[in-house]
Symmetry: C2
Subunit: 364 residues, 2 copies
């Protein structure tokens, strides 16, 4: 069972932490060495709890383990739901030596991480991501937070976990749509930093959609390693880290337009990356062949190729202006200088941008 | 006017910042060198805004200055009110390069600091404390946060300001009760670290109550220097910093019992310090003469000498158990080993504690 166990370290000085990846870890892997106090609070949601909560409890032998079960969905990534974590911690009298455990997808991870960053001004936390998206993205890098009606992830903190435990078995309970959404972020790493990985993905994409363990462990390991490398070089998003947002400015606009939770984050990012590739071509950075390669791998991952029905170029422009990646109001995007080489730029040609937006909107 | 200008630095490595203390600074001191972006958001409350908001604006020549005016009072130190700061920032499209400015007392400072720590995962902030309490206490050290119905300051962050500007003229609009509450924290520094300062206070307490500028500048400077020294040695409250909580465990119980805002924080701390001195005497740590000296200086500062009407020893025990200074549930208090030498201990004699509680409760 442990033959395929892989481990890497996110190098952040005294905040470094390991990521453990393998099959069959939930219920058998002992996480208690990562818990400094006697109290553990597992935060999960109504969908994940019946599947994995008991197995997750078994990872903390000898500890006081309490639980908070939240409703499931991006639309609950708000202050009211976050407060339920604080309610649970205070009702069970958890001290500042407690450890919070995020068991679930990106929403649970972001909220639990922010709760850990804020409870008594900061306590420890552990990530057990159960979706592909959270395993390859939000579990690495320490970004935590909640949404505000006027923008996604507008309120939050940088807060690093003690350890991340990734069990590929947990992916078997995902819908095909959720698997595809996760693959969007996996593909992203190939596009921004690693053409070898992109080539590997072009061979293995079907195995990944079919959830073959060996391919999954490799894809997750390489994705986490890529993100860990970028985060280690730029923890607070001073520069390099921003390339991880390829497709995200377009994607956030799509998510906001559709209403949080109606499009999966990864779906919006998939379309957003096609848009970024399209604009990169129009601005003379990549070739038509490169663009086609981007579109093809994203389509093979079964991700949507157009913006939501009814969304117009003006909707994009309006919603992108409050994206928090925009410093002082100017539009800043991640584009592809070449395949495997992303760049952050505010040299966006407005006419080419309009052409890209028109190309991806069904109604103009 | 600037003759009495004093300045000190809180030494926290790359998060070090200056505290500037003097008379007549609001409206004339240029704070724009501390603002790295072009946007400033001044957060204040309905009481302070008519008095100082225009002068505060004048400290940021050449910047886009927006404002959020909150209702006044500890009872508004909650998530709903905090959200009004985020609403204002997003409505005015403040980027992650914005600077938040806290103009007001401790509540405004704690909430604005936490908003700055959390907005887009962290932006800059500046403190302009206008009450004596906030000038000598909450403006130094980076503790920020809001209350939860089950406990004070349970949700927050450590977030250091860029600069603290203290104008003693702003104290002229305080009620005598607020001045006394501030003096409780001033006296605390004498009790925990500095008997010379305690002796100076015993001479100058009347000048301070009468708001004489020279005495005020000196008292604020020495208080800030004492706190800055402690915080520099222990930013995240691993050990030493806890001595700053002398009287606070008793005090928080009093504040919670009375309902947030009915007793001023400094009033509760004043009574709490008498209780700590009483227990220190009972546990054989200080002399009867020391205890009397503590009681006398606190009474001369016109602070309450008994717990609120109707509060019982059982109320204290119940409310102190969730105080966040209590690690893993055991009761931990700051006591006086000698005058000018505080110690954190969990060796609290339960019978002596009961005797102290009985001594300060009107009804048993």
């Amino acid at each position: 069972m442990r033959d395929s166990l892989r481990e890497l370290t996110v190098e952040l000085g005294d905040r470094s932490y390991p990521i453990v990846i393998g099959q069959g870890l939930l219920g058998s892997y002992d996480l208690s060495p990562f818990v400094s106090g006697s109290q553990v609070m597992i935060v999960t949601n109504e969908t994940v709890a019946p599947l994995y909560l008991e197995s997750a409890r078994a990872c903390f032998p000898g500890k006081q383990v309490d639980t908070v079960v939240l409703p499931d969905g991006e639309k609950y990534k708000d202050w009211q739901t976050l407060n339920r974590i604080f309610d649970g911690l205070l009702e069970k009298r958890h001290s500042r030596k407690t450890t919070l455990v995020a068991l679930g997808g990106g929403v649970v991870g972001d909220m639990t991480g922010f709760a850990a960053a804020s409870y008594q001004r900061g306590v420890s936390f552990i990530q057990i991501p159960t979706t592909l998206l959270s395993q390859v993205d939000s579990s690495v890098g320490g970004k935590t937070g909640i949404n505000h009606p006027l923008g996604k992830n507008m309120i939050g903190a940088f807060h690093q976990p003690e350890v991340v435990l990734i069990d590929t078995d947990s992916l078997r309970s995902l819908s095909p749509r959720e698997v595809s959404a996760g693959l969007a972020e996996v593909i992203k790493y190939g596009l921004i930093r690693d053409t070898d990985f992109l080539a590997w993905l072009e061979k293995e994409i079907t195995s990944l959609i079919d959830l073959e363990t060996t391919a999954l462990v490799e894809a997750i390991y390489r994705s986490c390693a890529c993100k860990a490398d970028v985060v280690a070089k730029d923890e607070r998003e001073g520069g390099l880290r921003a390339i991880l947002n390829l497709g995200h400015t377009f994607g956030h606009a799509i998510e906001t337009f559709a209403g949080y939770g109606n499009w999966l984050h990864g779906e919006a990012v998939g379309t957003g990356m096609m848009m970024a590739a399209d604009l990169s071509l129009r601005q003379g950075m990549i070739t038509e062949e490169d663009r086609a390669r981007v579109v093809r791998i994203i389509e093979r991952a079964k991700l949507p190729a157009l913006a939501p029905t009814g969304m117009s170029p003006d909707d994009f422009l309006r919603l992108m202006a409050v994206d928090k990646k925009n410093v002082d109001g100017s539009l800043r995007l991640v584009l592809l200088r070449r395949l495997g080489d992303a760049v952050v730029t505010d040299a966006v040609d407005r006419r080419e941008l309009d052409a890209t937006l028109r190309g991806f909107c069904r109604e103009v």
